[in-house]
Symmetry: D2
Subunit: 109 residues, 4 copies
Protein backbone atom coordinates (compact mmCIF):
# COMPACT_ATOMS: atom_id res chain seq x y z
CA UNK A 1 0.00 0.00 0.00
CA UNK A 2 1.55 3.29 -1.11
CA UNK A 3 0.83 5.19 2.11
CA UNK A 4 2.81 2.73 4.27
CA UNK A 5 5.54 2.20 1.68
CA UNK A 6 6.20 5.94 1.77
CA UNK A 7 5.91 6.38 5.53
CA UNK A 8 9.60 7.00 6.29
CA UNK A 9 9.72 9.69 3.63
CA UNK A 10 6.38 11.18 4.74
CA UNK A 11 7.77 11.46 8.28
CA UNK A 12 11.03 13.07 7.12
CA UNK A 13 9.16 15.60 4.96
CA UNK A 14 6.76 16.36 7.81
CA UNK A 15 9.60 17.04 10.24
CA UNK A 16 11.43 19.13 7.64
CA UNK A 17 8.40 21.29 6.84
CA UNK A 18 7.84 22.00 10.54
CA UNK A 19 11.53 22.76 11.10
CA UNK A 20 11.53 25.17 8.14
CA UNK A 21 8.35 26.96 9.28
CA UNK A 22 9.77 27.26 12.78
CA UNK A 23 13.21 28.36 11.52
CA UNK A 24 11.70 31.08 9.30
CA UNK A 25 9.63 32.44 12.19
CA UNK A 26 12.60 32.29 14.57
CA UNK A 27 14.89 34.01 12.04
CA UNK A 28 12.40 36.90 12.01
CA UNK A 29 12.97 37.28 15.76
CA UNK A 30 16.78 37.27 15.52
CA UNK A 31 18.66 40.43 16.48
CA UNK A 32 20.27 40.68 13.05
CA UNK A 33 17.43 39.72 10.71
CA UNK A 34 19.29 41.21 7.78
CA UNK A 35 21.71 38.30 7.57
CA UNK A 36 18.91 35.71 7.86
CA UNK A 37 16.92 36.73 4.78
CA UNK A 38 18.33 34.03 2.47
CA UNK A 39 17.61 31.49 5.17
CA UNK A 40 13.99 32.66 5.48
CA UNK A 41 13.49 32.60 1.71
CA UNK A 42 14.85 29.06 1.36
CA UNK A 43 12.87 27.91 4.42
CA UNK A 44 9.64 29.03 2.74
CA UNK A 45 10.45 27.20 -0.51
CA UNK A 46 11.48 24.09 1.38
CA UNK A 47 8.44 24.00 3.69
CA UNK A 48 6.09 24.36 0.73
CA UNK A 49 7.50 21.51 -1.33
CA UNK A 50 7.81 19.23 1.72
CA UNK A 51 4.14 19.79 2.54
CA UNK A 52 3.13 19.05 -1.05
CA UNK A 53 5.29 15.91 -1.06
CA UNK A 54 3.50 14.67 2.07
CA UNK A 55 0.14 15.27 0.40
CA UNK A 56 1.20 13.39 -2.77
CA UNK A 57 2.66 10.43 -0.85
CA UNK A 58 -0.34 10.24 1.53
CA UNK A 59 -2.52 9.80 -1.56
CA UNK A 60 -0.08 7.31 -3.08
CA UNK A 61 0.26 9.62 -6.08
CA UNK A 62 2.02 8.33 -9.18
CA UNK A 63 3.93 11.64 -9.27
CA UNK A 64 5.44 11.20 -5.81
CA UNK A 65 8.87 10.15 -7.11
CA UNK A 66 9.23 13.11 -9.46
CA UNK A 67 8.16 15.57 -6.77
CA UNK A 68 10.45 14.05 -4.14
CA UNK A 69 13.41 14.26 -6.54
CA UNK A 70 12.91 18.02 -6.76
CA UNK A 71 12.14 18.20 -3.03
CA UNK A 72 15.54 16.62 -2.29
CA UNK A 73 17.33 19.33 -4.31
CA UNK A 74 15.49 22.15 -2.57
CA UNK A 75 16.11 20.57 0.86
CA UNK A 76 19.85 20.36 0.10
CA UNK A 77 20.00 24.05 -0.82
CA UNK A 78 18.14 24.97 2.37
CA UNK A 79 20.39 22.72 4.50
CA UNK A 80 23.50 24.40 3.08
CA UNK A 81 22.25 27.90 3.95
CA UNK A 82 20.88 26.96 7.40
CA UNK A 83 24.16 25.23 8.30
CA UNK A 84 25.97 28.59 7.97
CA UNK A 85 24.11 30.03 10.97
CA UNK A 86 24.83 29.20 14.61
CA UNK A 87 21.29 29.63 15.94
CA UNK A 88 19.85 26.37 17.26
CA UNK A 89 16.76 26.63 15.02
CA UNK A 90 19.04 26.90 11.96
CA UNK A 91 21.23 23.97 12.98
CA UNK A 92 18.15 21.82 13.70
CA UNK A 93 16.59 22.87 10.42
CA UNK A 94 19.79 22.03 8.50
CA UNK A 95 19.70 18.52 9.97
CA UNK A 96 15.99 18.05 9.20
CA UNK A 97 16.65 19.20 5.61
CA UNK A 98 19.56 16.78 5.17
CA UNK A 99 17.51 13.88 6.57
CA UNK A 100 14.61 14.80 4.31
CA UNK A 101 16.82 15.05 1.22
CA UNK A 102 18.18 11.58 1.93
CA UNK A 103 14.72 10.10 2.52
CA UNK A 104 13.44 11.70 -0.69
CA UNK A 105 16.37 10.36 -2.72
CA UNK A 106 15.83 6.85 -1.32
CA UNK A 107 12.12 7.01 -2.03
CA UNK A 108 12.68 8.21 -5.61
CA UNK A 109 15.39 5.64 -6.36
CA UNK B 1 8.41 28.62 22.81
CA UNK B 2 5.29 28.44 20.64
CA UNK B 3 6.51 25.56 18.44
CA UNK B 4 7.02 23.23 21.42
CA UNK B 5 3.95 24.43 23.29
CA UNK B 6 1.88 23.44 20.27
CA UNK B 7 3.66 20.15 19.55
CA UNK B 8 0.87 17.79 20.65
CA UNK B 9 -1.62 19.65 18.47
CA UNK B 10 0.85 19.84 15.55
CA UNK B 11 1.29 16.08 15.75
CA UNK B 12 -2.47 15.41 15.89
CA UNK B 13 -3.12 17.71 12.90
CA UNK B 14 -0.26 16.09 10.96
CA UNK B 15 -1.65 12.60 11.55
CA UNK B 16 -5.16 13.75 10.69
CA UNK B 17 -4.10 15.40 7.41
CA UNK B 18 -2.27 12.24 6.33
CA UNK B 19 -5.19 10.02 7.32
CA UNK B 20 -7.60 12.23 5.35
CA UNK B 21 -5.38 12.30 2.23
CA UNK B 22 -5.01 8.54 2.43
CA UNK B 23 -8.73 7.98 3.10
CA UNK B 24 -9.75 10.13 0.12
CA UNK B 25 -7.40 8.23 -2.21
CA UNK B 26 -8.55 4.88 -0.83
CA UNK B 27 -12.25 5.83 -1.15
CA UNK B 28 -11.56 6.45 -4.86
CA UNK B 29 -10.46 2.82 -5.14
CA UNK B 30 -13.52 1.40 -3.35
CA UNK B 31 -15.88 -0.82 -5.36
CA UNK B 32 -18.82 1.49 -4.64
CA UNK B 33 -17.27 4.96 -4.97
CA UNK B 34 -20.71 6.51 -5.27
CA UNK B 35 -21.44 6.13 -1.57
CA UNK B 36 -18.02 7.51 -0.60
CA UNK B 37 -18.31 10.93 -2.24
CA UNK B 38 -19.32 12.83 0.93
CA UNK B 39 -16.41 11.18 2.71
CA UNK B 40 -13.96 12.27 -0.02
CA UNK B 41 -15.28 15.84 0.02
CA UNK B 42 -14.98 16.15 3.79
CA UNK B 43 -11.53 14.49 3.74
CA UNK B 44 -10.29 17.20 1.35
CA UNK B 45 -11.62 20.03 3.52
CA UNK B 46 -10.21 18.43 6.65
CA UNK B 47 -6.75 17.71 5.21
CA UNK B 48 -6.44 21.29 3.96
CA UNK B 49 -7.26 23.00 7.24
CA UNK B 50 -5.12 20.54 9.25
CA UNK B 51 -2.13 21.31 7.01
CA UNK B 52 -2.67 25.05 7.39
CA UNK B 53 -3.01 24.66 11.17
CA UNK B 54 0.36 22.87 11.27
CA UNK B 55 1.94 25.70 9.27
CA UNK B 56 0.46 28.36 11.61
CA UNK B 57 1.49 26.54 14.79
CA UNK B 58 4.99 25.76 13.45
CA UNK B 59 5.44 29.51 13.02
CA UNK B 60 3.95 30.22 16.42
CA UNK B 61 1.30 32.34 14.71
CA UNK B 62 -0.93 34.55 16.83
CA UNK B 63 -3.89 33.24 14.77
CA UNK B 64 -3.28 29.59 15.68
CA UNK B 65 -6.07 29.44 18.24
CA UNK B 66 -8.71 30.86 15.91
CA UNK B 67 -7.71 28.54 13.09
CA UNK B 68 -7.63 25.48 15.36
CA UNK B 69 -11.12 26.30 16.67
CA UNK B 70 -12.45 26.06 13.11
CA UNK B 71 -10.22 23.06 12.40
CA UNK B 72 -11.84 21.20 15.32
CA UNK B 73 -15.32 21.77 13.86
CA UNK B 74 -14.30 20.54 10.41
CA UNK B 75 -12.55 17.50 11.92
CA UNK B 76 -15.70 16.61 13.86
CA UNK B 77 -17.81 16.73 10.71
CA UNK B 78 -15.31 14.54 8.87
CA UNK B 79 -15.11 12.07 11.77
CA UNK B 80 -18.89 11.71 11.81
CA UNK B 81 -19.03 10.88 8.09
CA UNK B 82 -15.99 8.57 8.11
CA UNK B 83 -17.37 6.65 11.09
CA UNK B 84 -20.36 5.59 8.96
CA UNK B 85 -18.16 3.48 6.67
CA UNK B 86 -16.70 0.08 7.55
CA UNK B 87 -13.51 0.38 5.45
CA UNK B 88 -10.38 0.37 7.61
CA UNK B 89 -9.13 3.65 6.09
CA UNK B 90 -12.42 5.32 7.05
CA UNK B 91 -12.39 3.98 10.60
CA UNK B 92 -8.74 5.02 11.07
CA UNK B 93 -9.50 8.43 9.60
CA UNK B 94 -12.49 8.88 11.90
CA UNK B 95 -10.24 8.22 14.90
CA UNK B 96 -7.52 10.59 13.65
CA UNK B 97 -10.16 13.29 13.13
CA UNK B 98 -11.60 12.83 16.63
CA UNK B 99 -8.11 12.95 18.18
CA UNK B 100 -7.29 16.06 16.15
CA UNK B 101 -10.53 17.80 17.11
CA UNK B 102 -9.77 17.17 20.79
CA UNK B 103 -6.17 18.40 20.47
CA UNK B 104 -7.35 21.53 18.65
CA UNK B 105 -9.99 22.29 21.29
CA UNK B 106 -7.42 21.87 24.09
CA UNK B 107 -4.94 24.08 22.25
CA UNK B 108 -7.52 26.80 21.64
CA UNK B 109 -8.87 26.73 25.22
CA UNK C 1 -23.16 26.44 -9.30
CA UNK C 2 -20.94 27.12 -6.28
CA UNK C 3 -17.76 27.79 -8.27
CA UNK C 4 -19.37 30.66 -10.23
CA UNK C 5 -21.36 31.97 -7.27
CA UNK C 6 -18.09 32.37 -5.37
CA UNK C 7 -16.05 33.77 -8.28
CA UNK C 8 -15.73 37.37 -7.02
CA UNK C 9 -14.48 36.13 -3.65
CA UNK C 10 -12.18 33.55 -5.29
CA UNK C 11 -10.64 36.35 -7.36
CA UNK C 12 -10.19 38.65 -4.35
CA UNK C 13 -8.57 35.88 -2.29
CA UNK C 14 -6.30 34.96 -5.23
CA UNK C 15 -5.11 38.56 -5.62
CA UNK C 16 -4.64 38.90 -1.86
CA UNK C 17 -2.57 35.70 -1.56
CA UNK C 18 -0.28 36.82 -4.39
CA UNK C 19 0.06 40.33 -2.93
CA UNK C 20 0.95 38.86 0.48
CA UNK C 21 3.52 36.41 -0.96
CA UNK C 22 5.06 39.24 -2.98
CA UNK C 23 4.98 41.66 -0.03
CA UNK C 24 6.70 39.17 2.28
CA UNK C 25 9.47 38.54 -0.27
CA UNK C 26 9.88 42.27 -0.93
CA UNK C 27 9.98 43.07 2.80
CA UNK C 28 12.94 40.66 3.06
CA UNK C 29 14.78 42.83 0.52
CA UNK C 30 14.08 46.12 2.32
CA UNK C 31 17.01 48.04 3.77
CA UNK C 32 15.52 47.93 7.27
CA UNK C 33 14.10 44.38 7.48
CA UNK C 34 13.89 44.66 11.25
CA UNK C 35 10.85 46.91 11.13
CA UNK C 36 9.10 44.68 8.55
CA UNK C 37 9.01 41.48 10.59
CA UNK C 38 5.39 41.86 11.80
CA UNK C 39 4.38 42.58 8.23
CA UNK C 40 6.13 39.41 6.97
CA UNK C 41 4.54 37.27 9.70
CA UNK C 42 1.04 38.55 8.97
CA UNK C 43 1.61 38.21 5.20
CA UNK C 44 2.39 34.51 5.66
CA UNK C 45 -0.74 33.88 7.74
CA UNK C 46 -2.87 35.84 5.29
CA UNK C 47 -1.51 34.17 2.14
CA UNK C 48 -2.07 30.72 3.64
CA UNK C 49 -5.71 31.22 4.58
CA UNK C 50 -6.50 33.00 1.30
CA UNK C 51 -5.08 30.05 -0.66
CA UNK C 52 -7.11 27.59 1.41
CA UNK C 53 -10.25 29.71 0.94
CA UNK C 54 -9.74 29.58 -2.85
CA UNK C 55 -9.39 25.79 -2.69
CA UNK C 56 -12.58 25.43 -0.59
CA UNK C 57 -14.63 27.76 -2.80
CA UNK C 58 -13.33 26.17 -6.02
CA UNK C 59 -14.70 22.86 -4.72
CA UNK C 60 -17.94 24.50 -3.62
CA UNK C 61 -17.21 23.34 -0.08
CA UNK C 62 -19.96 23.59 2.53
CA UNK C 63 -17.33 25.07 4.91
CA UNK C 64 -16.49 28.00 2.62
CA UNK C 65 -18.50 30.53 4.62
CA UNK C 66 -16.91 29.62 7.96
CA UNK C 67 -13.41 29.72 6.49
CA UNK C 68 -14.02 33.04 4.72
CA UNK C 69 -15.30 34.59 7.95
CA UNK C 70 -11.95 33.84 9.59
CA UNK C 71 -10.09 34.80 6.41
CA UNK C 72 -11.71 38.25 6.56
CA UNK C 73 -10.44 38.80 10.12
CA UNK C 74 -6.90 37.76 9.24
CA UNK C 75 -6.94 39.95 6.10
CA UNK C 76 -8.03 42.94 8.19
CA UNK C 77 -5.14 42.47 10.62
CA UNK C 78 -2.69 42.18 7.75
CA UNK C 79 -4.13 45.26 6.01
CA UNK C 80 -3.72 47.31 9.20
CA UNK C 81 -0.04 46.37 9.55
CA UNK C 82 0.79 46.76 5.83
CA UNK C 83 -0.86 50.19 5.74
CA UNK C 84 1.70 51.47 8.26
CA UNK C 85 4.56 51.06 5.77
CA UNK C 86 5.24 53.39 2.83
CA UNK C 87 6.74 50.77 0.47
CA UNK C 88 4.61 50.27 -2.64
CA UNK C 89 4.36 46.50 -2.06
CA UNK C 90 2.97 47.16 1.43
CA UNK C 91 0.44 49.73 0.25
CA UNK C 92 -0.70 47.45 -2.59
CA UNK C 93 -0.91 44.51 -0.19
CA UNK C 94 -2.96 46.57 2.29
CA UNK C 95 -5.46 47.35 -0.47
CA UNK C 96 -5.62 43.72 -1.65
CA UNK C 97 -6.23 42.63 1.96
CA UNK C 98 -9.03 45.18 2.46
CA UNK C 99 -10.69 44.14 -0.81
CA UNK C 100 -10.39 40.48 0.16
CA UNK C 101 -11.82 41.07 3.63
CA UNK C 102 -14.82 42.81 2.09
CA UNK C 103 -15.36 40.06 -0.50
CA UNK C 104 -15.11 37.39 2.21
CA UNK C 105 -17.62 39.20 4.45
CA UNK C 106 -20.08 39.55 1.55
CA UNK C 107 -19.64 35.90 0.62
CA UNK C 108 -20.18 34.72 4.20
CA UNK C 109 -23.24 36.94 4.78
CA UNK D 1 10.79 42.43 -10.82
CA UNK D 2 10.14 38.69 -10.55
CA UNK D 3 6.47 38.97 -9.59
CA UNK D 4 5.58 40.91 -12.77
CA UNK D 5 7.90 38.92 -15.01
CA UNK D 6 6.07 35.77 -13.95
CA UNK D 7 2.56 37.22 -14.08
CA UNK D 8 1.34 35.35 -17.20
CA UNK D 9 2.45 32.05 -15.70
CA UNK D 10 1.02 32.95 -12.27
CA UNK D 11 -2.34 33.64 -13.93
CA UNK D 12 -2.29 30.39 -15.93
CA UNK D 13 -1.41 28.34 -12.82
CA UNK D 14 -4.11 30.12 -10.81
CA UNK D 15 -6.78 29.34 -13.42
CA UNK D 16 -5.57 25.76 -13.71
CA UNK D 17 -5.65 25.14 -9.95
CA UNK D 18 -9.21 26.48 -9.74
CA UNK D 19 -10.32 24.44 -12.76
CA UNK D 20 -8.81 21.29 -11.23
CA UNK D 21 -10.43 21.87 -7.80
CA UNK D 22 -13.76 22.51 -9.49
CA UNK D 23 -13.38 19.52 -11.85
CA UNK D 24 -12.57 17.15 -8.96
CA UNK D 25 -15.61 18.32 -6.99
CA UNK D 26 -17.86 18.09 -10.07
CA UNK D 27 -16.56 14.61 -10.94
CA UNK D 28 -17.70 13.52 -7.46
CA UNK D 29 -21.23 14.61 -8.40
CA UNK D 30 -21.28 12.76 -11.74
CA UNK D 31 -23.75 9.89 -12.16
CA UNK D 32 -20.92 7.44 -12.95
CA UNK D 33 -18.20 8.47 -10.47
CA UNK D 34 -16.41 5.17 -11.01
CA UNK D 35 -15.06 6.21 -14.39
CA UNK D 36 -13.93 9.63 -13.09
CA UNK D 37 -11.55 8.41 -10.39
CA UNK D 38 -8.35 8.82 -12.46
CA UNK D 39 -9.51 12.30 -13.37
CA UNK D 40 -10.08 13.21 -9.69
CA UNK D 41 -6.66 11.83 -8.67
CA UNK D 42 -4.84 13.77 -11.38
CA UNK D 43 -6.87 16.91 -10.61
CA UNK D 44 -5.67 16.80 -6.99
CA UNK D 45 -2.01 16.41 -7.99
CA UNK D 46 -2.32 19.17 -10.57
CA UNK D 47 -4.11 21.65 -8.30
CA UNK D 48 -1.50 21.16 -5.59
CA UNK D 49 1.53 21.81 -7.75
CA UNK D 50 -0.12 24.75 -9.52
CA UNK D 51 -0.86 26.37 -6.14
CA UNK D 52 2.73 25.84 -5.01
CA UNK D 53 4.03 27.26 -8.29
CA UNK D 54 1.96 30.41 -7.76
CA UNK D 55 3.40 30.76 -4.25
CA UNK D 56 6.98 30.34 -5.52
CA UNK D 57 6.56 32.79 -8.40
CA UNK D 58 4.76 35.35 -6.23
CA UNK D 59 7.84 35.35 -3.99
CA UNK D 60 10.15 35.49 -7.01
CA UNK D 61 11.72 32.23 -5.82
CA UNK D 62 14.93 31.05 -7.45
CA UNK D 63 13.36 27.57 -7.66
CA UNK D 64 10.39 28.74 -9.75
CA UNK D 65 11.79 27.40 -13.04
CA UNK D 66 12.47 23.91 -11.68
CA UNK D 67 9.04 23.69 -10.08
CA UNK D 68 7.27 24.96 -13.20
CA UNK D 69 9.08 22.38 -15.34
CA UNK D 70 7.56 19.62 -13.21
CA UNK D 71 4.23 21.47 -13.05
CA UNK D 72 4.08 21.44 -16.87
CA UNK D 73 4.48 17.65 -16.94
CA UNK D 74 1.77 17.09 -14.35
CA UNK D 75 -0.56 19.51 -16.14
CA UNK D 76 -0.07 17.62 -19.41
CA UNK D 77 -0.97 14.31 -17.78
CA UNK D 78 -4.08 15.85 -16.23
CA UNK D 79 -5.08 17.48 -19.55
CA UNK D 80 -4.82 14.14 -21.34
CA UNK D 81 -7.12 12.39 -18.84
CA UNK D 82 -9.63 15.26 -18.60
CA UNK D 83 -9.86 15.48 -22.40
CA UNK D 84 -11.26 11.91 -22.49
CA UNK D 85 -14.43 12.97 -20.68
CA UNK D 86 -17.32 14.88 -22.28
CA UNK D 87 -18.44 16.77 -19.15
CA UNK D 88 -18.00 20.51 -19.51
CA UNK D 89 -15.92 20.76 -16.30
CA UNK D 90 -13.51 18.16 -17.71
CA UNK D 91 -13.20 19.86 -21.09
CA UNK D 92 -12.63 23.25 -19.43
CA UNK D 93 -10.11 21.72 -17.06
CA UNK D 94 -8.27 20.05 -19.96
CA UNK D 95 -7.93 23.45 -21.66
CA UNK D 96 -6.77 25.18 -18.46
CA UNK D 97 -4.17 22.42 -17.96
CA UNK D 98 -2.87 22.74 -21.54
CA UNK D 99 -2.64 26.53 -21.20
CA UNK D 100 -0.85 26.17 -17.88
CA UNK D 101 1.61 23.61 -19.25
CA UNK D 102 2.48 25.97 -22.10
CA UNK D 103 2.88 28.97 -19.78
CA UNK D 104 5.08 26.91 -17.42
CA UNK D 105 7.29 25.70 -20.30
CA UNK D 106 7.71 29.27 -21.58
CA UNK D 107 8.52 30.53 -18.10
CA UNK D 108 11.09 27.79 -17.50
CA UNK D 109 12.76 28.21 -20.92
Amino acid sequence: MPHEQYQACIDACTRCAQACRHCAASCLQEHDVQKMTDCIRLDLDCAGICELSVAYMSRGSEHSRQLCTLCAQICEGCAEECARHQAQHCQQCAQACRDCAQACRQMAA
